[in-house]
């Protein structure tokens, strides 16, 4: 269980995180989405006490992270896979964590096997690892203490498609056994397949949060016509709000049927008409709506 309560972080006059609140209940995977620089990492670091918040608070299992006695036994963290000592081997990296938090060496071998880094790879220096291998080592490090909460910042970065598929299965299984997962990404498709809930942050503020299916439904439809301007005018006169995407399509806040009828009435030729599912469209629709959405 993670509770984030009105967290804010200011750096001078710059507001990096502005009153962010959300909860991650046990048994769920929460996708924390936002473009680069939206405040995802800062929020996560504040949640685990590495960054002192300007205001607000966060708890894990009802306790501020910094007051947990041996936090790694309850909360597995992967905040930056490249923040590992380049001169240590993969096995040594895990051994240091194991020794700090008091779990056996056998657990190190188990975790290395779990992330497919046993054998020769375990004895290579992290400096020689690819980013994907560092992510897997970081995940092994997070799981070492047998936590029931996982907080992962951009864990899919550098993973190949197989690796992403493997990680989804692992996180799904973790949540299905009652665990709580919070994972961030700037790409919707990375978390779409595994997340139950989405928290979307933009410019340091929560743009939307709630059940994934509901949110994606509320993102509107993406429509593209041979004559984009005519379509925009037609929809506007029909009272349907739209916003142009960077590739010439429109995001419309109306059911697909209404959009299709409007276009047909004007004799417009449509090239695309489908639910807007991409993270870009989601942000677009959220900024079009120009208010914070809360979907239960």
């Amino acid at each position: 269980m993670i509770n984030v309560n009105r967290l804010s972080k200011r750096y001078g006059s710059h507001v990096a995180v502005d009153g962010v609140s959300f909860d991650c209940p046990p048994g769920t995977v929460t996708g924390f989405l936002g473009p680069n620089g939206a405040g995802k990492s800062t929020t996560m670091r504040m949640t685990v006490g590495l960054t002192p918040p300007s205001s607000g608070s966060a708890t894990v299992h009802g306790v501020p992270y910094r007051r947990l006695l041996n936090p790694a036994r309850q909360v597995g963290l992967l905040l930056d896979a490249s923040a590992q000592h380049a001169g240590r081997t993969g096995r040594e990296t895990l051994t240091i964590t194991a020794q700090t938090i008091g779990v056996g060496r056998q657990r190190v071998d188990e975790m290395l096997a779990l992330v497919s880094l046993s054998g020769a790879a375990a004895n290579r220096r992290v400096g020689n690892y690819s980013l994907g291998m560092r992510q897997r080592l970081g995940l092994a490090n997070a799981l070492l203490g047998g936590p029931d909460v996982l907080i992962l910042d951009e864990p899919a970065n550098g993973l190949d498609p197989d690796g992403i598929f493997w990680m989804r299965a692992l996180l799904r299984d973790f949540a299905d056994r009652g665990g709580t997962v919070l994972l961030s990404s700037h790409l919707l498709h990375e978390v779409e397949a595994v997340a139950d809930r989405l928290v979307i942050i933009n410019g340091g503020r929560i743009a939307a949060q709630g059940d994934k299916a509901e949110l994606l439904k509320s993102a509107g439809v993406r429509v593209r016509a041979t004559d984009g301007d005519a379509l925009r005018r037609a929809l506007a006169s029909a009272g349907i709000e739209t916003k142009a995407t960077s590739d010439g399509a429109l995001i419309a806040h109306a059911p697909a049927e209404a959009v299709g009828h409007t276009a047909a009435a004007q004799g417009l030729v449509l090239l695309e008409l489908h639910p807007a599912g991409g993270v870009e469209e989601l942000f677009m629709s959220l900024t079009t709506a120009n208010h914070t959405k809360e979907v239960a």
Binding site: R45, V48, G49, L50, T51, P52, H61, Y65, R66, R67, L68, L69, N70, P71, A72, R73, Q74, L77, L79, D80, S82, A83, Q84, H85, A86, G87, R88, E92, I96, T97, Q99, T100, I101, G102, N141, G146, D148, R177, G178, G179
Partner: protein, 261 residues
């Protein structure tokens, strides 16, 4: 401290914060588990051995005693232990492991305490290595090179050597903690006290200050075989306050308040 929690399997498990000895063992391990860490320790021992060998071939043979060889062989230890102290702290930032270290142990001062204890263990081992190497040198010198070969050695000499080396490793930790940058801390460590010593020799009124505040000067009596006077202790305390306690205090405040990225 102890608490209980529900594990994922639903059973109650006991959670305790990692014991200080455990953190100390981990920090000690981190100082020796990389090539750079090992290289530094090997360099210290090689320089000690080299200084012992040099002493066998230079100076008056009848002056070659165990105590004499030992105190001279300590010189490279005194120079490199501060570097070891600096690196034990700054590597957390240069290698960005601080993110993991302080997430695993959120009470940050405990990590610092463990680093201090770990570095103290290494300082003691360095003195022990120095004793062993000097003993070999003295035995060889007496047997084959007409050395004096006296084994006279007092607890006072050992105590002074140990205290001096502990202070040297702690000054490194203090500088590393305050500056959080390996090159900056090492350069400033070597430049400031030495600039102070040089200035003290040039400017007369600075010299009287240097006698109180220059760590190189104030630790000198520790390595001589006579009892420290009250004033010597006062001078030592003043320089320790300036070069160890002050940066350590400021560095600790910085560590406890700062954002770790």
């Amino acid at each position: 401290m102890e608490a209980t929690m529900q594990s994922q399997a639903g059973t109650t498990v006991r959670v305790t914060s990692p014991a200080l000895w455990r953190l100390t063992a981990t920090e000690l391990r981190k100082m020796v588990d990389t090539r750079a860490g090992i290289a530094l320790l090997v360099a210290i021992e090689l320089l000690v051995a080299a200084l012992v060998v040099v002493q066998l071939f230079t100076g008056r043979a009848d002056a070659r005693t165990f105590t004499g060889i030992f105190t001279t062989a300590l010189i490279p230890v005194s120079i490199l232990l501060p570097v070891l102290g600096v690196l034990s702290v700054t590597s957390e930032w240069s290698q960005r492991t601080a993110l993991t270290t302080f997430a695993l142990v959120p009470r940050r001062w405990r990590v610092l305490l463990a680093k201090g204890l770990g570095a103290a263990v290494l300082a003691l081992l360095a003195v022990a290595a120095c004793l062993a190497t000097a003993a070999i040198g003295n035995a060889v010198g007496a047997a084959f090179m007409h050395g004096n070969g006296s084994w006279h050695f007092t607890g006072r000499t050992l105590g002074g050597a140990v205290l001096a080396q502990l202070l040297y490793v702690f000054v490194g930790i203090a500088f590393g903690l305050l500056l959080q940058s390996s090159p900056l801390a090492i350069v400033i460590y070597f430049v400031i006290p030495n600039a102070w010593s040089v200035l003290g020799n040039l400017v007369s009124w600075l010299r009287s200050w240097a006698a109180w505040l220059d760590l190189n000067t104030t630790t000198g009596p520790l390595l001589q075989d006579n009892t420290l006077s009250g004033q010597s202790w006062a001078k030592l305390a003043a320089s320790v306050g300036l070069w160890i306690l002050l940066p350590l205090g400021l560095g600790l405040v910085r560590l406890l308040r700062e954002e770790i990225k």
